[in-house]
Symmetry: C2
Amino acid sequence: MFKEILKEKGLHVTKQRIAILEALKNLKKPATIDFINENIIGEIHHVTLYRSLATLVEFGLVYQTDFREGVAYFELQKDNYHHHHLVCTRCKEKKDFSYCPNIPIEKINKDLGFLVQSHIFEIFGVCNSCTHK
Amino acid sequence: MFKEILKEKGLHVTKQRIAILEALKNLKKPATIDFINENIIGEIHHVTLYRSLATLVEFGLVYQTDFREGVAYFELQKDNYHHHHLVCTRCKEKKDFSYCPNIPIEKINKDLGFLVQSHIFEIFGVCNSCTHK
DNA sequence: TTACTTGCAAAATATTTGCAAATAA
DNA sequence: TTATTTGCAAATATTTTGCAAGTAA
């Protein structure tokens, strides 16, 4: 329940934030601001989308990534299904990829005083279907 | 020598491409298109920068990444110093980080027919200096 | 009631396109 | 000479800002 999750994080529960999280949940894949807007229930101003998503990313509820397309992508961050993607540079398809880098969070904090909060990891290449075209 | 490297890749050797590579070499850190432009020898049109960098990234000479700032960053890809970054979300500082995820390239290719060419990996958090402010 | 969030209008930035001229091979 | 690359002029797309009104706590 997103309402509870937002409260736990100390964030205000607004219908816009709930709508964004629901949209991302249903989409089940990384989406741009435009795509989220087309697939959302109710009208949300694009400025609100940018600001809400920035907050949701900051608090770890949403994964923000980049596929070298000049536009940000967002995906719901699920505790039980953390994953990244294989990105085809030809057809732009993104395939879920369950491997995740093993970041030495404690060591980074101890050695550098840097507090790790999140990461992006994406693999680029050519998919099977594009190779055989 | 960048001239030889470009030739090896089968790319045309142009003064613009050389200038971009030299600029990135001197900068020693990820840079935006604007920043590259300000630090380049000779004038290069921004359209040429976008197109040249896309080519250099495609051929593995340049690492293109993203720091959730709404703008693409580019860094020279060095064979002997492959690295990623610790990115402070407060002060925006990027610190080199030598750990690199161990991507099972052969397995991905064998299982999925996906040909891995490159990847991005960045760690976000709060740096020591910003924590103590 | 108070601080946070949203929507609006506009601005600022970033990126791409088509085409002709220039240039590398 | 031929294919690739560059520069120009726009266009398009993406992201941010300031501020007043709205809303959650």
